[in-house]
């Protein structure tokens, strides 16, 4: 088709200008796609870590516990654990007890939150129990071994194997205490964990508050986290075994993490919007210059009777070719880079150093592949360039052949 030929060759008439605009489109497409994929990977990593150390994909609590955190809001774990064990989509279940209290050493005492958990179940999945965070000792084996954060250990001047006393109110409001032994010390860079977290055997903590066999939370990890809604629906009958319990998606159980993800999504949209504005202005400018330079040419075309429609098509074909080539170039670049960053990952430890998102996250971020958004970005870039060419089209259609053709 001659119109496309004209469009293509006109683009190369001013190589410099077209090259710059092409670079702008390639660059913004690349940045958009890479950024989306990076965020996709980073947020997925964060959610994964958050879900595994926190509420699970789905969390089960006694009604009201999420808002009030009452120590007495425990429930018997066994009937629900039995039900969950029969659900084929459940990968792991982590029953937990949460007890705020005071950790005492020979030197002094510090407030902390004790999490009673099953080390056997959670080791290998809960990132807080990852070997790499241990600066001393390891996982406890006996019923009195505990793991605590490095700052807390320093404050109390305790080392591995030292004895400590955990003191807390029990479920009836009485003071209770238990003797424990430091089994491991972790350093995660998460302030709340390092300075205020104690991980202890679940049964020991449950007994200490007078609720043996009971838990505050059951964190449920699914084989496919995308299937949270159907899984949630199926939990209903299982929860009937213990009246008063309820299941929540992680977004409800960890609203801070959920809003962090939402803010990131908003930032992404804003960044992409800015890039799109740059592309739109650049394309409008490029096309307008290209059209204005060809005033005589369009005047001639109008003079010999070329329809407005054909002229519109010619100019829009130019924008179409420009945007398609640019978007395709940016996409290819993003895929090439993504092939590497999705496997080898990007080491963000420099950036993350000293940044506390409240979750222990692996600083090697592997970028993801968000194909639906990538496709939308491609289509969006092309549509945007077409829209940006409408003003140059209008300009070209306003050319009056009698004026354009005059040679005084």
């Amino acid at each position: 088709m001659l119109w496309v030929k004209i469009a293509w060759r006109n683009l190369w008439r001013n190589r410099r200008r077209t090259g710059i605009q092409l670079a702008v489109i390639i660059g913004s497409m690349f940045l958009s796609v890479f950024y989306i994929n990076f965020a996709d990977g980073a947020l997925a990593t964060m959610v994964r870590a958050g879900v595994r150390s926190g509420s699970g994909d789905i969390a089960i609590y006694r009604q009201g516990y999420l808002s009030d955190r009452r120590l007495s809001d425990t429930f018997p774990a066994a009937p629900i654990l039995a039900g969950l064990a029969r659900d084929p989509d459940v990968a792991q279940v982590f029953p937990r007890v949460r007890v705020p209290g005071l950790l005492q050493s020979a030197y002094g005492s510090r407030p902390a939150e004790a999490e009673g958990l099953d080390f056997g179940r959670e080791a290998g999945t809960n990132p807080l129990l990852d070997r790499k965070y241990f600066v001393a000792g390891g996982l406890p084996h006996g019923p009195t071994g505990i793991v605590l954060g490095q700052t807390l250990a320093r404050n109390l001047k305790v080392k591995v194997k030292n004895k400590v006393v955990w003191m807390a109110q029990d479920a009836r409001g009485q003071i209770a205490s238990g003797l424990f032994r430091v089994s491991g010390i972790i350093h995660t860079d998460v302030g709340a964990v390092d300075a205020g977290m104690v991980m202890a055997p679940r049964e020991a903590m449950a007994s200490l508050i007078g609720r043996a066999g009971q838990v505050h939370e059951i964190a449920v990890l699914l084989k496919d986290p995308q299937q949270a809604s159907p899984a949630l629906a199926r939990l209903g009958p299982i929860l009937k075994a213990v009246p008063g319990t309820r299941a929540y998606p992680w977004q409800r159980a960890m609203p801070d993490l959920a809003s962090l993800i939402e803010i990131s999504a908003a930032k992404q949209k804003f960044t992409v919007f800015i890039l799109f504005v740059i592309v739109a202005i650049g394309t409008l400018n490029t096309m307008l210059m290209s059209v204005m330079e060809r005033t005589r040419e369009f005047g001639m075309m109008r003079a010999i009777g070329i329809s407005k429609r054909a002229i519109r098509q010619m100019i829009m074909a130019e924008a179409l070719v420009l945007s398609m080539v640019g978007a395709a170039g940016g996409l290819v670049l993003a895929i090439l880079v993504g092939l590497r960053t999705s496997t080898a990952g990007i080491d963000m430890s420099g950036v993350l150093k000293g940044m506390d998102v409240g979750i222990a996250v692996d600083p090697i971020i592997k970028t993801g592949w968000d194909w639906p958004v990538t496709a939308a970005l491609f289509a969006g870039t092309v549509v945007l360039c077409l829209v940006a060419s409408l003003y140059p089209v209008r300009w070209a259609l306003k050319i009056r052949p009698a004026d354009a053709m005059r040679t005084y």
């Binding site: 001659l2 004209i6 040419e297 001639m300 070329i306 329809s307």
Partner: protein
């Protein structure tokens, strides 16, 4: 039926405080197959008159008919269609599309007219041959001399089978040998294909070859000489 019929055509331009009577009451008819030229000094209204005839501009008063069709009350789109189908234009400054080859520049009109692509070569080749451009079909305008470019412009003007070709100072940028050759070719097209030609010019060589010279001054026709 006349190829061109004008009656009482006027066109004014506002210039500063005054008004320029660029075309000031022109009555003119051209029979099919004429090879006529407008003559007159610069500013006498030749270009304005050609633009009015070609429908590139609208008269302030008077009526115009092309090939029996009155153009006054036509919409811009209808005028464009009329130009595309019935009128060929040749401009002083050639005005070829620089990114298209000779062949493609001519093809451009057929494409716009909606002539099926498979017919393009058969329509274009004989015209390029007639105008001595066969060898240059795949060159770009910048690779041609002025005379060659103007021949391409003539090819473009006639490929769509127009009834009229309007040519505004077509030889003004050419040396005399080249101009003479171009005029010969147009004369041949006029004789063989019956296309009506109307030039504007101040080139005596054009007047020598024209079958009719229409002299203008101050927007009016003051002499109309036929030489048959």
């Amino acid at each position: 039926m006349n190829a061109i019929a004008l009656s009482g055509v006027k066109k004014f331009y506002r210039e500063g405080d005054g008004i320029v009577h660029a075309v000031d009451g022109v009555d003119l008819t051209l029979a099919p197959g004429e090879f006529a030229s407008l003559a007159g000094p610069s500013g006498s209204g030749k270009t304005t008159l050609l633009n009015l005839i070609g429908g590139l501009d609208r008269p302030d008063s008077g009526t115009l008919a092309i090939d029996g069709v009155f153009t006054n009350d036509r919409s811009d789109d209808q005028l464009a269609e009329l130009r595309l189908q019935k009128i060929g234009f040749v401009f002083q400054a050639y005005n070829l599309i620089p990114v298209l080859t000779v062949f493609e520049n001519v093809q451009f009109v057929l494409q716009a007219q909606g002539v099926p692509e498979r017919e393009h070569s058969d329509r274009i080749a004989p015209i390029l041959a007639e105008l001595g451009l066969a060898e240059m079909a795949h060159r770009f305008p910048t690779q041609l001399s002025g005379g060659q470019q103007q021949r391409v412009a003539v090819a473009r003007a006639i490929v769509g089978n127009p009834t009229i070709v309007l040519a505004d100072e077509p030889t003004a940028n050419l040396d005399s040998d080249t101009a003479a050759a171009l005029l010969e070719m147009m004369r041949r097209l006029n004789r063989h294909q019956g296309i009506t030609f109307l030039f504007s010019s101040h080139d005596p060589m054009v007047f020598d070859r024209a079958s009719r010279v229409i002299k203008m001054r101050d927007g009016k026709i003051h002499e109309d000489a036929r030489r048959d």
